[in-house]
């Protein structure tokens, strides 16, 4: 099987059996999302890049402790969240408004559409209380369940559910009449 199509868990096994180069696939799959978690914590690009690097090194060095009972992304997110909390308590950073830079997309339409949705979701998330924003990110971008997010962050499941629901409702209402709907109708 091609390495790109292997599951995270299969790649982790490969790394543990000495195929360290396979860890690059994990990094390529999750770097954007870990960077996103970093931005939520620090709101500063340089700190978030350092954070991303540190999270992956920590994950690599404690890979043996991954038991495979939960999805790998849950385990990785847990490492990222804990590291974010620790780093944040050590250093409070000044606010830095992130600039929008286009990511590598297949077509200009898809790039534009994704940018629009991201913008809408960011607006929706910004309407939530600050400490719950990361829960919504973890739900939408890391595909974690309410229970998993609760386990990582320690917030009650019902609080997470209601915040995710609020974000979804805002997203749904904002999507009406936007480029996304027009794109869908084409």
């Amino acid at each position: 099987m091609d390495n790109e199509h292997k599951t995270d868990e299969q790649i982790v096994k490969q790394v543990l059996f000495g195929g360290i180069e396979s860890f690059r696939i994990i990094v390529e799959r999750y770097q954007k999302r870990i960077f996103g978690i970093g931005m939520r914590f620090f709101n500063n690009r340089d700190d978030s890049y350092d954070f991303t690097q540190e999270v992956f090194i920590r994950a690599f060095e404690s890979l043996k402790s991954y038991a495979g009972r939960a999805p790998f992304r849950f385990w990785l997110t847990k490492i990222a969240y804990n590291h974010g909390i620790n780093r944040l308590s050590a250093k409070r950073t000044e606010s830095d408004v992130p600039e929008e830079i286009p990511s590598g997309e297949s077509t200009p339409e898809a790039r534009h559409l994704r940018g629009e949705i991201r913008k809408i979701l960011l607006n929706a998330v910004n309407e939530l209380p600050e400490r719950y924003r990361i829960c919504v990110d973890l739900y939408f971008f890391m595909e974690l369940t309410h229970g998993e997010i609760s386990e990582i962050t320690g917030y009650p499941v019902n609080t997470i559910k209601s915040n995710v629901l609020r974000a979804k409702i805002i997203l749904r209402n904002e999507l009406k009449g936007t480029i996304a709907e027009e794109y869908d109708e084409l």
């Binding site: 180069e21 770097q31 960077f35 890049y49 690097q53 939408f140 971008f141 997203l171």
Partner: protein, 153 residues
């Protein structure tokens, strides 16, 4: 059930869960809900491979350099103890071969001249196994022999 209830049920769904039957049935008959839910679903799908913030540089090369420099190493390694236990089982099995019924039958069929070639082959296999064991544990053996004089004194 009206469209609002259906929408609410859909929005309350958790990640990695199936669309409730009531929502599916409603979607069969309501084209507006079918369209809205499909649109929202496809929009949420696109987010799964994304991040709320855009990265303007690829970190993979930098991270991999750090990974290769890490003191943690995941080379597949069979411990010296395992090699020794399996080696012992092989040696014991070899000593038991002359007492087995099959070997007795072979000796009757081929005569006593069979013992020498069988011993050579088994000896050769044991030597290959021992060499493999030694070479895969060179570091441990080196440490052992370096520390041995200290232990004796």
């Amino acid at each position: 059930m009206n469209c609002n209830t259906i929408h609410k049920r859909f929005l309350e769904m958790d990640n990695r869960s199936r669309i409730p039957l009531s929502v599916r049935i409603h979607m069969l008959f309501c084209s507006r809900c079918r369209h809205d839910i499909a649109l929202l679903n496809s929009m949420l799908e696109t987010l799964k491979y994304d991040s709320p913030f855009v990265m303007d540089r690829d970190m993979s090369e930098k991270i991999m350099i750090e990974v290769f420099q890490s003191p943690v190493n995941y080379e597949h390694h069979i411990s010296g103890l395992k090699w020794s236990v399996v080696g012992l089982i092989i040696v014991v099995s070899m000593f038991l071969i002359p007492f087995s019924n099959t070997f007795g039958w072979l000796r009757q069929y081929f005569g006593r001249g069979l013992e020498l070639p069988v011993s050579i082959v088994l000896g050769l296999l044991l030597s290959i196994y021992s060499l493999a064991g030694i070479f895969s544990n060179l570091e441990e053996l080196k440490k052992f022999f370096v520390n041995l004089p200290k232990k004796i004194h």
